[in-house]
């Protein structure tokens, strides 16, 4: 029970921070309706030309589709590896658990730019051996994204496992359940929310990944963020504003729906 509520000063300061957090997201909207070719405000005249450009220029659709495919591959692959790893640590509690965890966390802890250079080295080396998995290819990007997002899946699944009662696994084992039965019939159902969260987070992280993607792609594997980057660097293309408004709208819708569901569940539990 919280007895001391924040005072007026704290509320005003927090409101200012809230404005600061939301301001740049709102600022995108008037820019997206500008009739001009460069970044400017829509004045009296509003135009949908930059939204039309998103549809008319096939490159945007291709970028979106590529990002979705890469996100799915990276999400499934990294979550599968991370789940096996986290399960391994949980079930076996090996001697060097700390060391293994350290290796698994490395891509998350290391500065993104160092990871980017490392993966650039990795993929250009692979390119010398084959043309399928390598620099500026679909599988190359998916592989690099898997490296970058796997630690996040490990964290989420490990947290989910820490809530599981070990005794149910012990009970299953004492009744003769094999490893596969224990994993898929006993433990997995208990961590399903952690697994779903891991799949979702890794997909989103891959979908918006840009730091590493910049290093490992040039003209073929142009993901959506990579496409946006090209429009942001020199002359700012207002189509970026239009796509930004679309992306912001999706996030706002998802977050609002999720919050509404939570609030309703909370009310049900109370009522």
């Amino acid at each position: 029970m919280i007895t001391l509520k924040p005072g007026l000063l704290a509320t005003i300061l927090a409101a200012l921070v809230a404005v600061f957090l939301l301001m740049p997201l709102i600022a995108v909207v008037p820019v997206s309706f500008t009739p001009g070719r460069n970044l400017s405000m829509a004045g009296d005249e509003w135009s949908l030309r930059h939204y039309r450009a998103l549809i008319d220029n096939p490159a945007w659709g291709k970028g979106v589709w590529l990002s979705i495919r890469i996100g799915l591959v990276a999400s499934l692959f990294s979550t599968a590896l991370a789940a096996a790893f986290a399960l391994g640590l949980w079930m076996l509690q090996p001697k060097f658990a700390g060391l293994y965890m350290g290796i698994a966390m490395l891509p998350m802890v290391a500065p993104p730019v160092v990871s980017a250079l490392t993966l650039y080295f990795f993929l250009t080396s692979l390119s010398q051996w084959n043309g399928v998995i390598g620099y500026d290819t679909f599988f190359g990007v998916a592989l690099a994204h898997s490296v970058m997002v796997a630690p996040f899946a490990v964290v989420l699944i490990t947290v989910a496992l820490s809530q599981v009662d070990r005794r149910i696994d012990l009970a299953a084992r004492s009744m003769g359940a094999g490893l596969m039965t224990r994993v898929f019939r006993i433990i997995m159902p208990n961590i399903r929310f952690g697994m779903i969260a891991a799949l979702f987070l890794t997909f989103v992280l891959s979908w918006e990944e840009i730091g590493v993607t910049l290093f490992i792609t040039s003209v073929n594997a142009v993901t959506l963020p990579r496409m946006m980057w090209m429009g942001l660097r020199d002359n700012i293309d207002p189509a970026i504003a239009a796509i930004s408004v679309v992306l912001i709208a999706i996030v706002v819708a998802v977050v609002l729906i999720k919050t509404a569901v939570q609030v309703r569940q909370g009310q049900k539990r109370q009522g």
């Binding site: 927090a14 600022a27 802890v109 730019v113 250079l117 490392t118 898997s146 996030v251």
Partner: protein
């Protein structure tokens, strides 16, 4: 038993070893072999005035960003953890929505707001507050704003968990003994959330050091930070050896920072 251990743990470890550890060794090799064998690139990285000025600027900006982001996050987390139900919901939306929006969109939002023909300059000139557009972006000011904006949600989570574990009875005891609200906040509440503040500072500072996208867009090539310098040395004016050497130095610096923190955390028994 041994077989199953390998079967579960090995795939991720082998994958990361092949796709991350071994290539990092390759980057280290670049740093001592390109353009010629030796430690010349490390000498350049640590003595060249240009590289040193970039490193100094990075540390300075990251320190400023850390202080601003953690202070702002502290205020908003306070409302999130201790406010009324409606306030909590509103604050949660203000944190979660920016958190899920990509770094590019957020950087672009600042451009829309701050650039010469952006909202602030357009309105300011229309109303007549200033006649010339203000230079708000493509400089350090814009970089700091963009980085603070990106990092606030990350600082919120460690702060929130520290604030939630504060024992309410201690605050009540302080009030019962006649402490003012301000005094309870500064002398009881803030010290009790010290670990959270420390964790948030570390997280934000380490994240800020490796930052690349926001400074590259909002700095407009004028206030280059270390991460962007590495990119420039690899792709713009190729000097792979130097880029690799700076990367290795960065990795070592962050490793030391984290190791020191762990030692400190153990030392204080937390």
């Amino acid at each position: 038993m041994l077989r199953s251990r390998l079967f579960l743990l090995a795939p991720l470890l082998v994958f990361l070893a092949l796709a991350y550890l071994v290539p990092f060794l390759g980057v280290m090799r670049w740093s001592v072999t390109l353009p010629e064998p030796g430690l010349g690139q490390y000498k350049t990285a640590l003595t060249d005035p240009l590289v040193l000025s970039v490193i100094w600027r990075t540390v300075r900006i990251c320190a400023l960003v850390t202080v601003l982001a953690v202070a702002m996050a502290y205020i908003i987390t306070l409302l999130w953890v201790r406010g009324g139900p409606v306030m909590r919901l509103f604050v949660e939306l203000c944190i979660l929505i920016p958190f899920w929006i990509s770094v590019l969109t957020r950087a672009f939002g600042w451009l829309a707001l701050l650039s010469n023909r952006g909202i602030i300059n357009t309105w300011g000139q229309e109303i007549g507050i200033f006649s010339e557009p203000l230079a708000l972006v493509r400089n350090e000011f814009g970089v700091v704003l963009g980085m603070v904006h990106f990092l606030i949600p990350f600082a919120v989570f460690p702060l929130a968990s520290a604030m939630r574990s504060v024992d309410e009875r201690v605050l009540l005891a302080a009030r019962g003994m006649g402490a003012s609200r301000a005094r309870i906040f500064w002398q009881v509440f803030v010290p009790m959330t010290k670990t959270g503040i420390f964790g948030a500072c570390l997280l934000v500072f380490v994240f800020a050091l490796g930052f690349f996208v926001t400074p590259a867009i909002l700095g407009g090539g004028r206030s280059v930070l270390v991460a962007e310098l590495i990119w420039l040395r690899i792709f713009q004016s190729p000097d792979w050896g130097l880029g690799a050497a700076i990367s290795v130095i960065m990795m070592v610096a962050i490793g030391l920072l984290l190791a020191l923190t762990m030692k400190y955390a153990k030392g204080t028994g937390r």
